[in-house]
């Protein structure tokens, strides 16, 4: 009576589902020995999917090229992808799955700092090396002053960019006052702001106002109206391109003519699309590479051929991480995570799309130049190349 037919069916389904969980759990083997299993923990859906997916395209291309060139000692590299839904909790989930179920020996990603930090504990516990391709926050590889043995990155770090832009503002632009407009939902943005302020004020400038917004905001006019009133020489906006495009557009609309400065998050053709070429004039940003650099050219060509559209900076960084990984795998010669870890740490003078990199074993950050680009009528114009300060 109480236990109707339908209900019986429902619980049967439930039971099967439970059992299958248990059995599915038994399936995690370490993979066959004729391929290298590499994990990609990526923001495929959710708020940061744009950045994650672009990086994944670059990564896939690097792996594909390596496989076409004969793989690693005749073995093919197999990329196992997992979606972290742009949430740090899910990044842990995805990393755990990659390690325990898919048996990967090394992981590339995620794109965003917070997600990499979430993942790093699981990777460290399981002694699986990680290469972060776009997480520029210093805390990614270092904790309490000590380097995290298994966590690496293939991009430069925020202090470098922040310092570069602050020096650029005070020395080249002779700016005395600055406003910072920060994405307070992003560690990236916040830490860049901090470094910029320190450097800029040390050089005699003054940050007269700091405003904040949140990722995915649409309307910035209210805060910009306030910023306009501050009348500063430069406005520093360390943020990602989606918001940057809208901010620049709306700033110009309400009559802000001041110079705007940005960071690598600006490096995407979308900024010009959204803001409009003329609005973007009188803006500068730091980034990882310039399209006419050696190495970059061939990457851009093959990327465009592969996907039918030009790469953005995330794609380039994803590609870099892939190159770095392939190089390390070759030198490691086995899929032993410890060997891979050691090989990554010993990376030296490796030509990737954005630069020639050497891994700093003390910080697990690559030693890389930063580039400053000026937007002129919708085109990137190379401004300067600045080596890391130390």
């Amino acid at each position: 009576m109480f236990f109707s037919k339908k209900l019986r069916l429902a619980s049967a389904v439930l039971g099967v589902a439970m059992l299958s969980t248990v059995f599915a759990g038994c399936g995690g083997d370490s993979g066959s020995s004729d391929e290298f299993k590499v994990g990609a923990n990526i923001e495929m859906t959710g708020n940061q999917a744009n950045y994650g997916n672009a990086g994944l395209e670059g990564l896939r291309l690097a792996i594909k090229e390596a496989n076409e060139a004969g793989g690693i000692n005749g073995k093919q590299i197999k990329l196992v992808e997992a979606d972290n839904k742009s949430e740090s909790a899910e990044a842990v989930n995805a990393a755990t799955k990659l390690i325990s179920d898919d048996g990967v020996k090394v992981i590339v990603g995620p794109a965003v700092t917070a997600n990499v930090i979430a993942e790093s504990q699981v990777a460290t516990d399981n002694k699986v090396p990680v290469i972060a391709f776009a997480a520029t926050n210093p805390d990614v590889t270092v904790e309490n002053g000590a380097v995290k043995p298994y966590i690496f990155r293939s991009c430069f770090i925020d202090p470098q960019q922040g310092t570069v832009m602050a020096q650029f503002a005070s020395k080249e632009l002779k700016a005395k006052t600055a406003v910072m407009y920060i994405d307070s939902s992003s560690d990236y943005s916040k830490s860049l702001g901090k470094v910029f302020q320190e450097t800029f004020e040390a050089a005699g400038g003054k940050v007269v106002m700091q405003e904040s917004f949140l990722a995915k905001d649409q309307d910035f006019k209210a805060a910009l109206t306030k910023i306009k009133a501050a009348n500063a020489d430069v406005i520093f906006i360390p943020a990602y391109y989606e918001e940057v495009g809208k901010i620049v557009k709306q700033a110009r609309e309400i009559g802000i003519t001041a110079t705007m400065l940005g960071t690598d998050g600006w490096d995407d053709p979308k900024v010009a699309d959204i803001a409009g070429a003329s609005a973007l004039n009188n803006t500068y940003f730091s980034t990882h590479y310039f399209a006419e650099d050696p190495g970059a050219k061939s990457f851009i060509d093959s990327f465009t051929k592969e996907y039918g559209h030009a790469p953005n900076v995330f794609a380039a960084l994803g590609y870099d991480a892939g190159k770095l990984l392939v190089d390390a795998l070759k030198r490691a010669g086995s899929d032993d995570p410890e060997a891979i870890r050691k090989a990554i740490e010993e990376t030296k003078d490796l030509q990737v799309a954005t630069a020639k990199v050497t891994m700093d074993p003390a910080t697990h950050n690559p030693i890389k130049d930063a580039i400053i680009i000026e937007n002129v009528d919708g085109k990137y114009v190379f401004k300067s190349r600045i080596a890391p300060s130390k």
Binding site: M1, F2, F3, K6, L7, R8, A10, S11, L14, A17, M18, T21, V22, A24, G25, C26, G28, M44, T45, N47, A82, D83, K85, E87, S88, A89, V92, N93, A94, T96, K97, I99, S100, D101, T113, A114, I117, A118, S120, Q121, N126, D139, E143, S184, S185, S186, D187, K190, L214
Partner: protein
């Protein structure tokens, strides 16, 4: 009445057997750490769903802000362990107390509202909690709280889940619980039966919030980093879906709902493009063909199969 106690003991024994089996499977690595993690998430979701069910399903008060209380518990807990270096259990209790207190303070004025108005007000309150946390630099603001020590494991989650189920089941099977159910069924008649409806609505809301706080604390200590982004109204929707999918007013249902939703999410993980589409369609179809959820108001203990196994009938 011994029957009640006997039933309890059987359920408890059964649960401990399941626990032992799973724990052995985990320790021997038969269940990989990915599946351990999923079991942990299921456990946390069960606590969330059952505590929300107390508010939505049993007391009939439409709350859409449950993730907010989870956030309070999570942040309180990690502050306790990370900044004050207090034991995990103290953090859990603190998370429960603070979330419960907040639930009480919020519930007192807002539970005068009914139906959709209450729903939108609680949704708003959940968002306000999240935004306030987002603006607190003390806990890392929008970028999240980092450097949390990993305390949560399967044993903690399972035992606390069991405790939650025990408390909430006992609550709803008492005069207090019946008062809440009466409010759901007919508030005016409940009041006419001598039930102080405001008191019981607030009580259910407070207890529900406190357990959400517990779940939050477990959640926070599982992921090394927590950010306000994990506690948006979409997360509240997700818990509501678990409750409705399992059946409003059924603890068994909430367990099943939490299980099914977490499971679907894990199984569909390799197809991120389709995952949400399938999930959405499943939800709509469920509402078409089984709007009362998988279990309706039913509990496992009252089901034929269970009674048959333990040779137990209704006393009548």
């Amino acid at each position: 009445m011994n029957l009640l106690r006997k039933n309890d003991l059987i359920m408890l024994g059964l649960s401990l057997v399941i626990f032992a089996i799973l724990q052995v499977l985990i320790t021997t690595k038969v269940l990989t750490s990915f599946w351990e993690l999923n079991l942990i998430i299921i456990g946390i979701n069960v606590i969330m769903a059952v505590s929300l069910n107390l508010i939505n399903g049993y007391t009939g008060q439409f709350s859409l802000g449950h993730a907010g209380f989870m956030a309070v518990g999570a942040y309180t807990g990690v502050v306790m362990t990370t900044f004050f270096h207090l034991p995990f259990i103290v953090a859990i209790i603190a998370g429960a107390v603070l979330a419960g207190l907040l639930g009480f303070l919020i519930g007192l004025p807002t539970l005068r509202l009914r139906g959709d108005y209450l729903a939108i007000a609680t949704l708003g309150l959940g968002e306000i909690i999240r935004i306030v946390i987002m603006n607190l630099d003390y806990v890392g603001g929008a970028a999240g709280f980092k450097g949390i020590t990993h305390h949560t494991n399967f044993a903690w989650v399972f035992l606390i889940m069991l405790f939650t189920l025990f408390v909430i089941k006992n609550f709803v099977n008492s005069s207090h619980g019946r008062a809440c159910i009466a409010i759901r069924e007919n508030e005016i008649a409940a009041e006419a039966m001598g039930i102080n409806t405001t008191k019981y609505k607030v009580m259910a809301f407070t207890i529900g919030a406190a357990f959400a706080g517990v779940a939050g604390c477990l959640f926070g200590h599982n992921f090394y980093i927590i950010s306000p982004g994990s506690f948006t109204f979409l997360a509240s929707f997700n818990y509501l879906i678990m409750v409705v999918m399992g059946g409003l007013g059924s603890i068994t249902g909430s367990i099943a709902g939490a299980f099914v939703v977490t499971f679907i999410s894990a199984v569909l993980a390799p197809w991120p493009e389709f995952r949400m589409i399938i999930y959405a369609l499943a939800l709509i179809l469920l509402m078409f063909y089984r709007p009362q959820g998988l279990f309706g108001y039913m509990e496992v203990t009252s089901m034929g199969i269970f009674r048959r196994i333990f040779k137990r009938g209704h006393e009548s």
